[in-house]
Symmetry: C2
């Protein structure tokens, strides 16, 4: 039987609760599919700051690098919000993305039919939305240098960042996106601000060049301001979307809210080689932490992405996804997706119901 | 009677049609309110490129600077889309904003009750939305230096831009925003990405400092990714919002689409002194240009903003706004806002109906 080492990073807030559910699901699916997992639990974010003084301890990073895949809960919380940048939980997350080289962030925005009414969009607009948004994750303004604070010629304080892309960074995310689009409907929409930003002009130029190698994919371009409208006006026009780090941050959250299923949405961050990083797209929800109220579906679905994209275990991935749909169909809901006529349960019990559905 | 010189910039696409309607409305309202206008029509954008080779001719800029206010239709079109940056219609727009020093861009996102069903959001979510989004317009990544193309140490091509804010740029938009919030509900939400970007950290620091001078305004902060979700989840939570140039570009378009009334929404761009720039938030719609199908409401409402914010003529401004509501109530619609049971008319006839309602 296959055997994999998995790094678990519960993180902060509801992180430990949802990771615990996802771990149980992995173990059960593994035993049914003949897959053995060895788990190592490590600290990151606020939990790591409190215990070690840094948001990404060396031990965590080396454990992650030596494992086959990393499953993350969430990081951050009010407690550390005023910390200086190098002592923010979020900085740990950015560092591990960079260190693992996971440049391609896959964020599906899928409407689950039983939850379509949770969308604030009209049923006919939201129903059937199924977007795969690919966000460049290790470049752009998140990491660009120079950055920092300084003083300008008038003696005033300034704050600055650099949005920068090199050809190879654009090319690798482009190839990645074209390949994803090939396996889906063959439509790829690249989002940029090429009417204003040089970084976007190079982005568009490279996408146009690389499109030559994918004659079976229909490439379109959209300005980011227009994309933020079109996601609301008619989200079903999109199949696969690709964009830079900061635009992807904004648009992926928007797309997930369009579905109304934000507690359901997983993500995968992949590099050229080495372990991928898998995490729900929602945050650490400190206000409900420790109250057994968290929705573990997105983390469980992240574990499915881990199996599919991180380990190539498609059958086991599908088994998890089917179990999630079955649990939904049996009517079990946490508070965030509850509606009249369904059964409200806590995080733990939902976990048990998912296990029954596996 | 007061007398004002107004620079009209029809621009491209549907620009000339909508500006012509707005001009007629200004003339009629002026004659009723004892206000005299002197109009000067000048070129910008693609029209200027074709006639003079540059997107913002010196004559246009000096006419604008010498006038009391500038009313713009829209610029841009497929024809010039592949032009190099300094020969893009959009570059003319960015230049005139910078040259006029109009750092504060007011973008109301208001749902017009008769049009609430045009929103893709559920009626109960969209109804009553009334957001004033203030976008910083002459700083940040749109104008930051260094910018351009180059070669990195590996010999690869790079494209880069600089997101940069100096204290005085943040302070002046902050004061502006707090004052707007004071006149509205006293709630101001500042949107940034202070968990990642130094430019945003300085932004937040200055807003916190300046908040001391406005104890009657309740200041909150929101990350841009969260804001892009919250605008869909519950737009009514927002009253006055303020953000940087690029986030404002994205969020203001999103907010306007939330209302469903995008053909109705005006904007005002104001500086510390000198003429303001007033324009609809929609684009030049080259696909319907010259077909008498354009919706002139947003431009007419921009003329109202011109009267209010540019000239201090509140009574005349209100007269226009009332006329727009009256025309809507009498059932007249262009194609973009048409629904069963209303009267479909062209741009010209809608203009005549607005005149009747004045
Ligand atoms: C927490 C934050 C640094 C992070 C980001 O901006 O990338 C988050 O918003 C995300 O999208 O994963
Ligand atoms: C046309 C373009 C340069 C412009 C901008 O990005 O500012 C437009 O999108 C706007 O919002 O007015």
């Amino acid at each position: 039987p296959s055997s994999y080492s998995i790094t678990l990073i519960p993180g902060d807030g509801i992180g430990p609760e949802i990771i615990s559910v996802a771990k149980d699901v992995l173990v059960l699916v593994g035993s049914l599919e003949g897959i053995k997992f060895e788990f190592q639990e490590v600290l990151m974010g606020g939990a790591a700051l409190d215990a070690t003084g840094v948001p990404l301890p060396d031990d965590t990073l080396s454990a992650a690098k030596q494992s086959h895949a990393v499953l993350l809960g969430a990081v951050g919380g009010y407690k550390w919000d005023k910390n200086e940048k190098h002592l923010k939980p979020e900085t740990g997350l950015l560092q591990i993305r960079k260190e693992l080289g996971v440049f391609a962030n896959l964020r599906p925005a899928t409407v689950y039919s039983p939850l379509v009414d949770a969308s604030t969009l009209k049923r006919e607009v939201a129903e059937g939305v199924d977007i795969m948004l690919i966000r460049e994750l290790t470049g752009g303004i998140y990491f660009g240098e120079p950055r920092g604070f300084g003083t300008n010629e008038n003696g005033e304080e300034i704050g600055f960042n650099t949005e920068i892309y090199a050809t190879h960074e654009i090319d690798r995310i482009a190839h990645f996106a074209f390949k994803v689009a090939q396996k889906r409907c063959g439509k790829l929409c690249s989002v940029d601000k090429a009417n204003v930003l040089e970084a976007s002009m190079l982005w568009r130029k490279r996408f146009l060049a690389i499109a030559q190698e994918y004659p079976d994919v229909e490439l379109s371009h959209m300005y980011v301001d227009n994309a933020s409208m079109q996601l609301i006006r008619n989200p079903k026009q999109f199949d696969t979307m690709v964009t830079n780090n900061i635009f992807g941050d904004i648009l992926s959250d928007e797309a997930s809210m369009v579905t109304g299923s934000i507690g359901m949405l997983p993500s995968a961050s992949l590099g050229a080689s080495g372990p991928g990083l898998f995490e729900p797209i929602h945050g650490s929800a400190p206000d409900i932490a420790g109250q057994d109220k968290a929705n573990p579906f997105a983390t469980v679905l992240s574990a499915a992405m881990l199996l599919r994209y991180g380990l190539g275990e498609e059958k086991a991935a599908k088994r998890i996804e089917n179990a999630v749909v079955d649990t939904l169909n049996r009517g079990f809901r946490t508070g965030d997706i509850y509606s009249a006529g369904t059964k409200l349960v806590g995080c733990k019990q939902l976990g048990e119901e998912i296990l029954k559905s596996v």
